[in-house]
Protein backbone atom coordinates (compact mmCIF):
# COMPACT_ATOMS: atom_id res chain seq x y z
CA UNK A 1 0.00 0.00 0.00
CA UNK A 2 1.61 3.22 -1.13
CA UNK A 3 -0.95 5.83 -0.31
CA UNK A 4 -1.93 6.65 3.26
CA UNK A 5 -4.62 4.65 4.92
CA UNK A 6 -8.08 6.22 4.83
CA UNK A 7 -8.35 5.44 8.55
CA UNK A 8 -5.74 8.17 9.12
CA UNK A 9 -8.38 10.71 8.20
CA UNK A 10 -9.91 10.07 11.62
CA UNK A 11 -6.87 11.73 13.18
CA UNK A 12 -7.85 15.04 11.63
CA UNK A 13 -11.58 15.16 12.39
CA UNK A 14 -11.43 18.57 14.10
CA UNK A 15 -9.54 20.09 11.18
CA UNK A 16 -12.00 18.52 8.75
CA UNK A 17 -14.90 20.16 10.58
CA UNK A 18 -13.22 23.54 10.30
CA UNK A 19 -12.33 22.89 6.66
CA UNK A 20 -15.87 21.92 5.74
CA UNK A 21 -17.19 25.07 7.37
CA UNK A 22 -14.66 27.28 5.64
CA UNK A 23 -15.45 25.72 2.25
CA UNK A 24 -19.14 26.24 2.97
CA UNK A 25 -18.48 29.90 3.74
CA UNK A 26 -16.41 30.31 0.57
CA UNK A 27 -19.11 28.75 -1.59
CA UNK A 28 -21.85 30.92 -0.13
CA UNK A 29 -19.70 34.05 0.22
CA UNK A 30 -21.57 36.12 -2.36
CA UNK A 31 -24.90 35.39 -0.69
CA UNK A 32 -23.82 36.24 2.86
CA UNK A 33 -25.04 39.73 3.61
CA UNK A 34 -25.19 39.59 7.40
CA UNK A 35 -21.89 39.12 9.19
CA UNK A 36 -23.68 37.59 12.15
CA UNK A 37 -24.63 34.43 10.26
CA UNK A 38 -21.07 33.80 9.13
CA UNK A 39 -19.64 34.46 12.58
CA UNK A 40 -22.17 32.13 14.20
CA UNK A 41 -21.26 29.42 11.72
CA UNK A 42 -17.57 29.89 12.48
CA UNK A 43 -18.23 29.76 16.22
CA UNK A 44 -20.21 26.55 15.86
CA UNK A 45 -17.35 24.98 13.88
CA UNK A 46 -14.81 26.15 16.45
CA UNK A 47 -16.76 24.73 19.38
CA UNK A 48 -17.43 21.48 17.51
CA UNK A 49 -13.73 21.04 16.79
CA UNK A 50 -12.83 21.59 20.45
CA UNK A 51 -15.43 19.00 21.48
CA UNK A 52 -13.99 16.48 19.03
CA UNK A 53 -10.44 16.89 20.32
CA UNK A 54 -10.79 14.45 23.22
CA UNK A 55 -7.96 16.05 25.12
CA UNK A 56 -6.05 14.85 27.05
CA UNK A 57 -5.63 11.70 25.04
CA UNK A 58 -6.23 8.49 26.93
CA UNK A 59 -4.97 6.04 24.35
CA UNK A 60 -1.59 7.76 23.86
CA UNK A 61 0.01 9.30 20.80
CA UNK A 62 -0.98 8.16 17.32
CA UNK A 63 0.86 8.81 14.09
CA UNK A 64 -0.61 8.73 10.62
CA UNK A 65 -0.23 9.81 7.01
CA UNK A 66 3.07 8.01 6.58
CA UNK A 67 4.29 9.23 10.00
CA UNK A 68 4.02 12.82 8.91
CA UNK A 69 1.25 13.78 11.32
CA UNK A 70 1.23 12.90 14.99
CA UNK A 71 -1.61 13.32 17.45
CA UNK A 72 -0.20 13.55 20.95
CA UNK A 73 -1.01 15.56 24.04
CA UNK A 74 1.42 18.26 22.96
CA UNK A 75 -0.32 18.83 19.64
CA UNK A 76 -3.79 18.55 21.17
CA UNK A 77 -2.90 21.18 23.80
CA UNK A 78 -1.87 23.67 21.15
CA UNK A 79 -4.79 22.80 18.88
CA UNK A 80 -7.30 23.43 21.65
CA UNK A 81 -5.47 26.68 22.44
CA UNK A 82 -5.57 27.76 18.78
CA UNK A 83 -9.24 26.84 18.47
CA UNK A 84 -10.03 28.82 21.66
CA UNK A 85 -8.11 31.82 20.34
CA UNK A 86 -10.05 31.48 17.07
CA UNK A 87 -13.37 31.53 18.91
CA UNK A 88 -12.41 34.58 20.97
CA UNK A 89 -11.18 36.40 17.86
CA UNK A 90 -14.39 35.65 15.99
CA UNK A 91 -16.28 37.18 18.94
CA UNK A 92 -14.02 40.25 18.82
CA UNK A 93 -14.38 40.61 15.05
CA UNK A 94 -18.17 40.75 14.88
CA UNK A 95 -18.47 44.53 15.20
CA UNK A 96 -15.47 45.36 13.01
CA UNK A 97 -16.79 43.22 10.17
CA UNK A 98 -20.04 45.21 10.18
CA UNK A 99 -18.57 48.72 10.50
CA UNK A 100 -15.53 48.33 8.26
CA UNK A 101 -17.54 46.87 5.40
CA UNK A 102 -15.50 43.68 5.28
CA UNK A 103 -16.96 40.78 3.31
CA UNK A 104 -17.98 38.45 6.12
CA UNK A 105 -17.89 35.11 4.27
CA UNK A 106 -14.31 35.49 3.11
CA UNK A 107 -13.15 36.98 6.40
CA UNK A 108 -14.30 34.06 8.52
CA UNK A 109 -13.31 31.47 5.93
CA UNK A 110 -9.76 32.86 5.94
CA UNK A 111 -9.67 32.85 9.75
CA UNK A 112 -10.72 29.19 9.70
CA UNK A 113 -8.18 28.25 7.04
CA UNK A 114 -5.38 30.05 8.90
CA UNK A 115 -6.27 28.10 12.05
CA UNK A 116 -6.28 24.81 10.13
CA UNK A 117 -2.78 25.65 8.88
CA UNK A 118 -1.56 26.20 12.43
CA UNK A 119 -3.16 22.97 13.62
CA UNK A 120 -1.45 21.00 10.85
CA UNK A 121 1.87 22.63 11.66
CA UNK A 122 1.73 21.80 15.37
CA UNK A 123 1.04 18.16 14.68
CA UNK A 124 3.59 17.63 11.93
CA UNK A 125 6.57 15.41 12.52
CA UNK A 126 7.95 16.05 9.07
CA UNK A 127 9.30 19.25 7.58
CA UNK A 128 7.06 19.16 4.49
CA UNK A 129 3.60 19.22 6.18
CA UNK A 130 5.08 21.67 8.67
CA UNK A 131 5.99 24.04 5.86
CA UNK A 132 2.61 23.55 4.17
CA UNK A 133 0.76 24.29 7.39
CA UNK A 134 2.74 27.43 8.10
CA UNK A 135 2.30 28.65 4.53
CA UNK A 136 -1.45 28.11 4.67
CA UNK A 137 -1.47 30.24 7.81
CA UNK A 138 0.68 33.05 6.49
CA UNK A 139 -1.02 33.31 3.10
CA UNK A 140 -4.38 33.70 4.82
CA UNK A 141 -2.83 36.19 7.25
CA UNK A 142 -1.60 38.47 4.44
CA UNK A 143 -5.16 38.83 3.19
CA UNK A 144 -6.60 39.24 6.68
CA UNK A 145 -4.13 42.05 7.46
CA UNK A 146 -5.22 43.84 4.29
CA UNK A 147 -8.99 43.26 4.58
CA UNK A 148 -9.90 46.89 5.25
CA UNK A 149 -9.03 47.93 1.70
CA UNK A 150 -10.12 51.54 2.15
CA UNK A 151 -7.48 52.23 4.79
CA UNK A 152 -4.04 53.02 3.41
CA UNK A 153 -2.20 51.82 6.52
CA UNK A 154 -3.88 48.46 6.12
CA UNK A 155 -2.64 48.12 2.53
CA UNK A 156 0.84 49.19 3.53
CA UNK A 157 0.90 46.71 6.40
CA UNK A 158 -0.25 43.85 4.17
CA UNK A 159 2.37 44.63 1.53
CA UNK A 160 5.22 44.87 4.04
CA UNK A 161 4.10 41.72 5.80
CA UNK A 162 3.78 39.86 2.51
CA UNK A 163 7.21 40.84 1.19
CA UNK A 164 9.12 40.09 4.39
CA UNK A 165 7.20 36.92 5.08
CA UNK A 166 7.61 35.56 1.57
CA UNK A 167 11.33 36.16 1.89
CA UNK A 168 11.64 34.29 5.18
CA UNK A 169 9.42 31.48 3.92
CA UNK A 170 12.01 31.05 1.19
CA UNK A 171 14.72 30.91 3.86
CA UNK A 172 12.78 28.24 5.73
CA UNK A 173 12.34 26.23 2.55
CA UNK A 174 16.02 26.58 1.75
CA UNK A 175 16.87 25.33 5.23
CA UNK A 176 14.56 22.35 4.71
CA UNK A 177 16.27 21.64 1.38
CA UNK A 178 19.70 21.73 3.04
CA UNK A 179 18.52 19.40 5.79
CA UNK A 180 17.21 17.02 3.18
CA UNK A 181 20.53 17.38 1.36
CA UNK A 182 22.63 16.52 4.42
CA UNK A 183 20.46 13.92 6.09
CA UNK A 184 18.48 12.48 3.19
CA UNK A 185 15.15 12.84 4.94
CA UNK A 186 12.62 15.42 6.04
CA UNK A 187 11.18 13.36 8.87
CA UNK A 188 12.08 14.61 12.36
CA UNK A 189 13.01 11.14 13.61
CA UNK A 190 15.23 10.38 10.65
CA UNK A 191 16.95 13.77 10.93
CA UNK A 192 17.54 13.23 14.64
CA UNK A 193 18.97 9.74 14.15
CA UNK A 194 21.23 11.05 11.38
CA UNK A 195 22.62 13.73 13.70
CA UNK A 196 23.18 11.24 16.51
CA UNK A 197 24.95 8.89 14.11
CA UNK A 198 27.49 11.31 12.64
CA UNK A 199 30.56 12.52 14.48
CA UNK A 200 30.51 16.16 13.49
CA UNK A 201 29.64 15.46 9.89
CA UNK A 202 29.53 18.44 7.56
CA UNK A 203 29.38 21.01 10.32
CA UNK A 204 29.06 24.17 8.28
CA UNK A 205 26.22 22.81 6.21
CA UNK A 206 24.37 21.59 9.31
CA UNK A 207 24.88 24.96 10.99
CA UNK A 208 23.45 26.72 7.94
CA UNK A 209 20.51 24.36 7.61
CA UNK A 210 19.53 24.66 11.28
CA UNK A 211 20.11 28.40 11.22
CA UNK A 212 17.84 28.87 8.21
CA UNK A 213 15.04 26.70 9.59
CA UNK A 214 15.17 28.45 12.97
CA UNK A 215 15.24 31.86 11.24
CA UNK A 216 12.15 30.98 9.23
CA UNK A 217 10.32 29.90 12.38
CA UNK A 218 11.61 32.89 14.38
CA UNK A 219 9.94 35.15 11.85
CA UNK A 220 6.58 33.55 12.63
CA UNK A 221 6.97 34.27 16.34
CA UNK A 222 8.48 37.72 15.65
CA UNK A 223 11.70 37.16 17.60
CA UNK A 224 14.48 39.71 17.13
CA UNK A 225 16.18 40.03 14.57
CA UNK A 226 13.20 38.77 12.54
CA UNK A 227 10.67 41.06 14.18
CA UNK A 228 10.53 44.14 11.98
CA UNK A 229 7.24 43.18 10.32
CA UNK A 230 5.28 42.89 13.53
CA UNK A 231 4.76 46.55 14.58
CA UNK A 232 3.71 47.64 11.08
CA UNK A 233 1.48 44.64 10.48
CA UNK A 234 -0.24 44.97 13.88
CA UNK A 235 -0.73 48.70 13.43
CA UNK A 236 -2.24 48.39 9.97
CA UNK A 237 -4.41 45.35 10.67
CA UNK A 238 -7.67 45.70 12.54
CA UNK A 239 -7.29 44.96 16.26
CA UNK A 240 -8.85 41.44 16.16
CA UNK A 241 -6.53 40.39 13.33
CA UNK A 242 -3.54 41.87 15.16
CA UNK A 243 -4.64 39.79 18.15
CA UNK A 244 -4.85 36.71 15.92
CA UNK A 245 -1.29 37.25 14.68
CA UNK A 246 -0.02 37.97 18.19
CA UNK A 247 -1.66 34.98 19.87
CA UNK A 248 -2.66 32.01 17.71
CA UNK A 249 0.07 32.51 15.12
CA UNK A 250 2.77 32.98 17.75
CA UNK A 251 1.56 30.00 19.77
CA UNK A 252 1.74 27.81 16.66
CA UNK A 253 5.24 29.08 15.82
CA UNK A 254 6.49 28.37 19.33
CA UNK A 255 4.87 24.93 19.32
CA UNK A 256 6.60 24.03 16.07
CA UNK A 257 9.92 25.41 17.30
CA UNK A 258 9.54 23.43 20.54
CA UNK A 259 8.84 20.18 18.72
CA UNK A 260 11.74 20.69 16.34
CA UNK A 261 14.12 21.51 19.19
CA UNK A 262 13.26 18.44 21.19
CA UNK A 263 12.99 15.96 18.33
CA UNK A 264 14.78 16.75 15.07
CA UNK A 265 17.62 18.95 16.32
CA UNK A 266 17.98 17.52 19.82
CA UNK A 267 21.43 16.14 19.03
CA UNK A 268 22.64 19.56 17.95
CA UNK A 269 21.46 21.21 21.16
CA UNK A 270 24.71 23.13 21.80
CA UNK A 271 24.31 24.88 18.44
CA UNK A 272 20.60 25.33 18.81
CA UNK A 273 20.71 26.73 22.32
CA UNK A 274 23.33 29.27 21.22
CA UNK A 275 21.02 30.52 18.45
CA UNK A 276 17.95 30.48 20.71
CA UNK A 277 19.73 32.20 23.61
CA UNK A 278 20.89 35.02 21.32
CA UNK A 279 17.41 35.48 19.91
CA UNK A 280 15.80 35.36 23.34
CA UNK A 281 18.20 37.96 24.79
CA UNK A 282 17.80 40.30 21.81
CA UNK A 283 14.00 39.93 21.76
CA UNK A 284 13.66 40.68 25.45
CA UNK A 285 15.94 43.74 25.29
CA UNK A 286 14.68 45.22 22.02
CA UNK A 287 11.02 44.51 22.74
CA UNK A 288 11.10 46.06 26.20
CA UNK A 289 13.15 49.13 25.32
CA UNK A 290 11.58 50.16 22.01
CA UNK A 291 8.10 49.79 23.52
CA UNK A 292 8.88 52.79 25.75
CA UNK A 293 8.71 55.26 22.87
CA UNK A 294 5.47 53.98 21.29
CA UNK A 295 2.38 56.18 21.18
CA UNK A 296 0.18 53.79 19.23
CA UNK A 297 -1.19 51.10 21.51
CA UNK A 298 -1.11 48.40 18.82
CA UNK A 299 2.57 49.11 18.15
CA UNK A 300 3.17 49.03 21.88
CA UNK A 301 1.50 45.62 22.10
CA UNK A 302 3.53 44.50 19.09
CA UNK A 303 6.79 45.30 20.86
CA UNK A 304 5.39 43.70 23.97
CA UNK A 305 4.65 40.54 21.97
CA UNK A 306 8.23 40.61 20.66
CA UNK A 307 9.65 40.65 24.18
CA UNK A 308 7.20 37.94 25.23
CA UNK A 309 8.47 35.78 22.37
CA UNK A 310 11.89 36.18 23.94
CA UNK A 311 10.63 35.04 27.35
CA UNK A 312 8.86 32.06 25.82
CA UNK A 313 12.10 31.06 24.06
CA UNK A 314 13.82 30.83 27.47
CA UNK A 315 11.89 27.63 28.12
CA UNK A 316 13.20 26.03 24.93
CA UNK A 317 16.87 26.63 25.83
CA UNK A 318 17.49 23.59 28.03
CA UNK A 319 15.98 21.23 25.46
CA UNK A 320 14.29 19.24 28.22
CA UNK A 321 10.72 18.21 28.89
CA UNK A 322 10.50 20.60 31.88
CA UNK A 323 11.65 23.48 29.70
CA UNK A 324 9.08 22.77 26.99
CA UNK A 325 6.35 22.49 29.58
CA UNK A 326 7.40 25.89 31.01
CA UNK A 327 7.06 27.37 27.52
CA UNK A 328 3.63 25.76 27.20
CA UNK A 329 2.51 27.41 30.45
CA UNK A 330 3.92 30.71 29.20
CA UNK A 331 2.15 30.48 25.85
CA UNK A 332 -1.14 29.55 27.50
CA UNK A 333 -1.14 32.59 29.80
CA UNK A 334 0.32 34.85 27.12
CA UNK A 335 -2.46 34.00 24.65
CA UNK A 336 -5.19 35.01 27.08
CA UNK A 337 -3.60 38.14 28.48
CA UNK A 338 -2.71 39.44 25.02
CA UNK A 339 -6.16 38.60 23.67
CA UNK A 340 -7.60 40.54 26.60
CA UNK A 341 -5.43 43.59 25.93
CA UNK A 342 -6.31 43.57 22.23
CA UNK A 343 -9.93 43.02 23.25
CA UNK A 344 -9.91 46.30 25.18
CA UNK A 345 -8.35 48.03 22.15
CA UNK A 346 -11.15 46.59 20.00
CA UNK A 347 -13.81 47.55 22.52
CA UNK A 348 -12.75 51.20 22.57
CA UNK A 349 -12.79 51.42 18.78
CA UNK A 350 -10.92 54.37 17.24
CA UNK A 351 -10.22 55.78 20.68
CA UNK A 352 -8.41 52.63 21.74
CA UNK A 353 -5.75 52.90 19.05
CA UNK A 354 -3.77 55.79 20.53
CA UNK A 355 -2.20 55.80 23.93
CA UNK A 356 -3.76 59.15 24.92
CA UNK A 357 -7.18 57.65 24.27
CA UNK A 358 -6.78 55.90 27.61
CA UNK A 359 -6.60 59.14 29.60
CA UNK A 360 -9.19 59.12 32.32
CA UNK A 361 -10.76 55.88 31.15
CA UNK A 362 -11.23 54.77 34.77
CA UNK A 363 -13.70 57.58 35.34
CA UNK A 364 -15.69 56.98 32.16
CA UNK A 365 -15.68 53.18 31.93
CA UNK A 366 -14.48 51.81 35.27
CA UNK A 367 -15.03 48.14 34.40
CA UNK A 368 -13.14 48.31 31.11
CA UNK A 369 -10.31 50.17 32.81
CA UNK A 370 -10.13 47.56 35.58
CA UNK A 371 -9.98 44.73 33.04
CA UNK A 372 -7.26 46.56 31.10
CA UNK A 373 -5.36 47.00 34.36
CA UNK A 374 -5.48 43.24 34.95
CA UNK A 375 -4.10 42.55 31.48
CA UNK A 376 -1.39 45.20 31.86
CA UNK A 377 -0.33 43.78 35.23
CA UNK A 378 -0.27 40.30 33.71
CA UNK A 379 1.82 41.47 30.75
CA UNK A 380 4.27 43.07 33.19
CA UNK A 381 4.37 39.92 35.29
CA UNK A 382 3.11 41.18 38.63
CA UNK A 383 2.15 38.49 41.20
CA UNK A 384 -1.61 38.20 41.56
CA UNK A 385 -1.91 37.52 37.81
CA UNK A 386 -0.97 34.60 35.63
CA UNK A 387 1.70 36.66 33.92
CA UNK A 388 3.88 36.31 37.02
CA UNK A 389 3.61 32.52 37.07
CA UNK A 390 4.38 32.38 33.36
CA UNK A 391 7.53 34.50 33.69
CA UNK A 392 8.53 32.67 36.85
CA UNK A 393 8.49 29.20 35.26
CA UNK A 394 10.45 30.16 32.13
CA UNK A 395 13.09 32.13 34.05
CA UNK A 396 13.38 29.26 36.52
CA UNK A 397 13.91 26.78 33.70
CA UNK A 398 16.61 29.02 32.20
CA UNK A 399 18.30 29.22 35.62
CA UNK A 400 18.16 25.45 36.04
CA UNK A 401 19.86 25.05 32.70
CA UNK A 402 22.67 27.38 33.83
CA UNK A 403 21.76 30.51 31.88
CA UNK A 404 22.38 32.81 34.80
CA UNK A 405 23.14 36.01 32.87
CA UNK A 406 20.12 35.53 30.66
CA UNK A 407 17.86 35.07 33.68
CA UNK A 408 19.17 38.27 35.27
CA UNK A 409 18.67 40.08 31.98
CA UNK A 410 15.10 38.79 31.73
CA UNK A 411 14.26 40.04 35.21
CA UNK A 412 15.91 43.42 34.54
CA UNK A 413 13.98 43.90 31.30
CA UNK A 414 10.79 42.95 33.12
CA UNK A 415 11.35 46.03 35.27
CA UNK A 416 11.86 48.16 32.15
CA UNK A 417 8.66 46.82 30.64
CA UNK A 418 6.81 47.65 33.86
CA UNK A 419 7.33 51.30 32.93
CA UNK A 420 5.78 50.68 29.50
CA UNK A 421 2.65 48.95 30.73
CA UNK A 422 2.10 50.93 33.88
CA UNK A 423 2.31 54.18 31.89
CA UNK A 424 -1.00 53.18 30.29
CA UNK A 425 -2.40 52.33 33.73
CA UNK A 426 -1.33 55.75 35.05
CA UNK A 427 -3.06 57.44 32.10
CA UNK A 428 -6.24 55.50 32.83
CA UNK A 429 -6.36 56.16 36.56
CA UNK A 430 -4.56 59.43 37.23
CA UNK A 431 -5.52 61.70 34.34
CA UNK A 432 -8.65 63.68 33.65
CA UNK A 433 -10.68 62.43 30.68
CA UNK A 434 -9.78 64.38 27.52
CA UNK A 435 -12.12 62.69 25.07
CA UNK A 436 -15.81 62.09 24.89
CA UNK A 437 -16.97 58.85 26.31
CA UNK A 438 -16.38 55.98 23.91
CA UNK A 439 -19.58 54.26 22.80
CA UNK A 440 -20.46 50.99 24.50
CA UNK A 441 -19.49 47.67 23.00
CA UNK A 442 -21.47 44.55 22.24
CA UNK A 443 -21.84 41.71 24.71
CA UNK A 444 -19.60 39.46 22.61
CA UNK A 445 -16.59 41.68 23.29
CA UNK A 446 -17.42 41.84 27.00
CA UNK A 447 -17.54 38.04 27.05
CA UNK A 448 -14.03 37.87 25.56
CA UNK A 449 -12.70 40.42 28.07
CA UNK A 450 -14.24 38.63 31.04
CA UNK A 451 -13.08 35.20 29.93
CA UNK A 452 -9.52 36.37 29.28
CA UNK A 453 -9.42 38.17 32.63
CA UNK A 454 -10.75 35.06 34.36
CA UNK A 455 -8.08 32.80 32.87
CA UNK A 456 -5.37 35.38 33.61
CA UNK A 457 -6.39 35.75 37.25
CA UNK A 458 -7.05 32.06 37.92
CA UNK A 459 -3.69 31.24 36.38
CA UNK A 460 -2.10 33.54 38.93
CA UNK A 461 -4.03 32.53 42.02
CA UNK A 462 -4.14 28.79 41.42
CA UNK A 463 -1.01 28.07 39.39
CA UNK A 464 -1.42 24.36 40.03
CA UNK A 465 -4.29 24.21 37.53
CA UNK A 466 -1.75 25.12 34.86
CA UNK A 467 0.15 21.89 35.41
CA UNK A 468 -2.64 19.63 34.27
CA UNK A 469 -0.86 18.87 31.05
CA UNK A 470 2.07 16.59 30.97
CA UNK A 471 2.34 16.73 27.28
CA UNK A 472 5.78 16.94 25.87
CA UNK A 473 6.50 15.61 22.39
Amino acid sequence: MIGPDLADVKLLWPELILLTMSLGLILSASRIRKGLKASTATLVAGFASILVYRWPLVEGARAGFGDMIIIDNYSQFFKVLIASALILIVLLSARRVETDNVRAGEYYALLLLASIGMMLAVSSTDLIPLYLGLELTTICSYILVGTTVERRTSNEAATKYFLLSAFTSALLLYGIALIYGTTGSTSFDAVASFFSGTEGGNNKLILMAIGLVVAGLAFKIAAVPFHSWAPDAYEGASAPIAAFLATASKAAGLAVLGRICISAFSEESHLLSLILATMAALSIIVGSIIAISQTNIKRLLAYSSISHAGYALLGLLPGTAEGISATMTYVFIYVFMTLGAFGVVTALGRRGERIDGYEGLARQQPVTALLMLIFLLALTGIPPTGGFIAKFVVILSALNAGYFTLAVLAVACSVVSAFVYLRVAVLMYMKEPQMDEAPGYPIMISAVLLLSALVTVIGGILPSVLNFWEAVP
Partner: protein, 117 residues
Protein backbone atom coordinates in the same frame (compact mmCIF):
# COMPACT_ATOMS: atom_id res chain seq x y z
CA UNK B 1 28.30 11.17 -16.13
CA UNK B 2 27.23 8.92 -19.00
CA UNK B 3 23.54 9.30 -18.32
CA UNK B 4 23.77 13.05 -18.88
CA UNK B 5 24.87 12.67 -22.52
CA UNK B 6 21.22 12.58 -23.54
CA UNK B 7 20.66 15.94 -21.87
CA UNK B 8 23.68 17.43 -23.64
CA UNK B 9 22.45 16.07 -26.96
CA UNK B 10 19.03 17.57 -26.46
CA UNK B 11 20.61 20.92 -25.55
CA UNK B 12 22.64 20.85 -28.75
CA UNK B 13 19.64 19.79 -30.84
CA UNK B 14 17.43 22.49 -29.34
CA UNK B 15 20.06 25.17 -29.79
CA UNK B 16 20.86 23.96 -33.30
CA UNK B 17 17.26 23.90 -34.48
CA UNK B 18 16.44 27.29 -32.99
CA UNK B 19 19.67 28.79 -34.36
CA UNK B 20 19.05 27.28 -37.80
CA UNK B 21 15.53 28.75 -37.90
CA UNK B 22 16.75 32.24 -37.04
CA UNK B 23 19.62 31.99 -39.48
CA UNK B 24 17.54 30.57 -42.36
CA UNK B 25 14.81 33.13 -41.83
CA UNK B 26 17.24 36.01 -42.01
CA UNK B 27 19.14 34.49 -44.96
CA UNK B 28 16.30 33.30 -47.16
CA UNK B 29 13.48 35.50 -45.98
CA UNK B 30 12.16 38.47 -47.88
CA UNK B 31 12.14 41.80 -46.01
CA UNK B 32 9.22 44.19 -46.11
CA UNK B 33 9.71 46.28 -43.00
CA UNK B 34 6.85 48.22 -41.49
CA UNK B 35 6.59 50.11 -38.23
CA UNK B 36 4.73 47.34 -36.46
CA UNK B 37 7.11 44.66 -37.68
CA UNK B 38 10.17 46.58 -36.51
CA UNK B 39 8.80 47.05 -33.01
CA UNK B 40 10.07 44.55 -30.43
CA UNK B 41 7.68 41.66 -30.00
CA UNK B 42 5.73 41.53 -26.75
CA UNK B 43 2.36 39.84 -26.37
CA UNK B 44 -0.01 42.66 -27.14
CA UNK B 45 1.31 45.37 -24.87
CA UNK B 46 3.77 48.20 -25.24
CA UNK B 47 7.16 46.62 -24.62
CA UNK B 48 8.73 49.66 -23.00
CA UNK B 49 6.83 52.03 -20.75
CA UNK B 50 7.53 53.85 -17.55
CA UNK B 51 6.50 51.91 -14.48
CA UNK B 52 3.52 53.18 -12.53
CA UNK B 53 1.08 52.71 -15.37
CA UNK B 54 -2.18 51.03 -14.53
CA UNK B 55 -2.78 47.40 -15.37
CA UNK B 56 -6.33 46.13 -15.35
CA UNK B 57 -6.91 43.76 -12.45
CA UNK B 58 -8.83 41.51 -14.87
CA UNK B 59 -5.52 40.11 -16.17
CA UNK B 60 -4.55 39.18 -12.64
CA UNK B 61 -7.83 37.31 -12.09
CA UNK B 62 -7.40 35.38 -15.32
CA UNK B 63 -3.84 34.49 -14.34
CA UNK B 64 -5.02 33.21 -10.96
CA UNK B 65 -7.67 31.05 -12.62
CA UNK B 66 -5.02 29.73 -14.98
CA UNK B 67 -2.83 28.76 -12.02
CA UNK B 68 -5.81 26.97 -10.47
CA UNK B 69 -6.19 24.64 -13.44
CA UNK B 70 -2.47 24.39 -13.95
CA UNK B 71 -1.95 23.06 -10.43
CA UNK B 72 -4.82 20.67 -10.92
CA UNK B 73 -3.10 19.22 -13.98
CA UNK B 74 0.28 19.05 -12.26
CA UNK B 75 -1.21 16.76 -9.63
CA UNK B 76 -3.52 14.83 -11.94
CA UNK B 77 -0.69 13.51 -14.13
CA UNK B 78 1.34 11.66 -11.47
CA UNK B 79 -1.92 10.46 -9.92
CA UNK B 80 -3.04 9.01 -13.25
CA UNK B 81 0.31 7.23 -13.65
CA UNK B 82 0.09 5.35 -10.33
CA UNK B 83 -3.70 5.15 -10.25
CA UNK B 84 -3.74 1.33 -10.27
CA UNK B 85 -1.39 0.98 -7.29
CA UNK B 86 -3.14 3.43 -4.98
CA UNK B 87 -6.65 2.35 -5.90
CA UNK B 88 -9.72 3.57 -4.07
CA UNK B 89 -7.79 5.61 -1.48
CA UNK B 90 -6.16 7.57 -4.27
CA UNK B 91 -9.50 8.13 -5.97
CA UNK B 92 -11.06 9.48 -2.77
CA UNK B 93 -8.08 11.71 -2.05
CA UNK B 94 -8.06 13.09 -5.56
CA UNK B 95 -11.79 13.69 -5.18
CA UNK B 96 -11.17 15.74 -2.02
CA UNK B 97 -8.40 17.67 -3.74
CA UNK B 98 -10.54 18.39 -6.81
CA UNK B 99 -13.46 19.31 -4.56
CA UNK B 100 -11.41 21.98 -2.80
CA UNK B 101 -10.07 23.32 -6.10
CA UNK B 102 -13.53 23.39 -7.63
CA UNK B 103 -14.87 25.20 -4.57
CA UNK B 104 -12.31 27.91 -5.30
CA UNK B 105 -13.36 28.03 -8.92
CA UNK B 106 -17.04 28.21 -8.02
CA UNK B 107 -16.22 31.06 -5.65
CA UNK B 108 -14.41 32.95 -8.40
CA UNK B 109 -17.24 32.34 -10.88
CA UNK B 110 -19.90 33.24 -8.34
CA UNK B 111 -18.20 36.54 -7.60
CA UNK B 112 -17.90 37.57 -11.23
CA UNK B 113 -14.29 36.76 -12.01
CA UNK B 114 -15.28 35.37 -15.41
CA UNK B 115 -17.19 38.46 -16.53
CA UNK B 116 -15.01 40.52 -18.81
CA UNK B 117 -16.44 44.01 -18.88
Amino acid sequence: MKEYIGVVVSFILAGGIAGAMVFLASWLGERKPSEVKLAPFECGKTPFSLPGGKLAVKFYLTAILFVLFDIELVFLYPWAVIYRTIGLTGLVEMGVFMGILIAGFVYAWDNGALEWQ
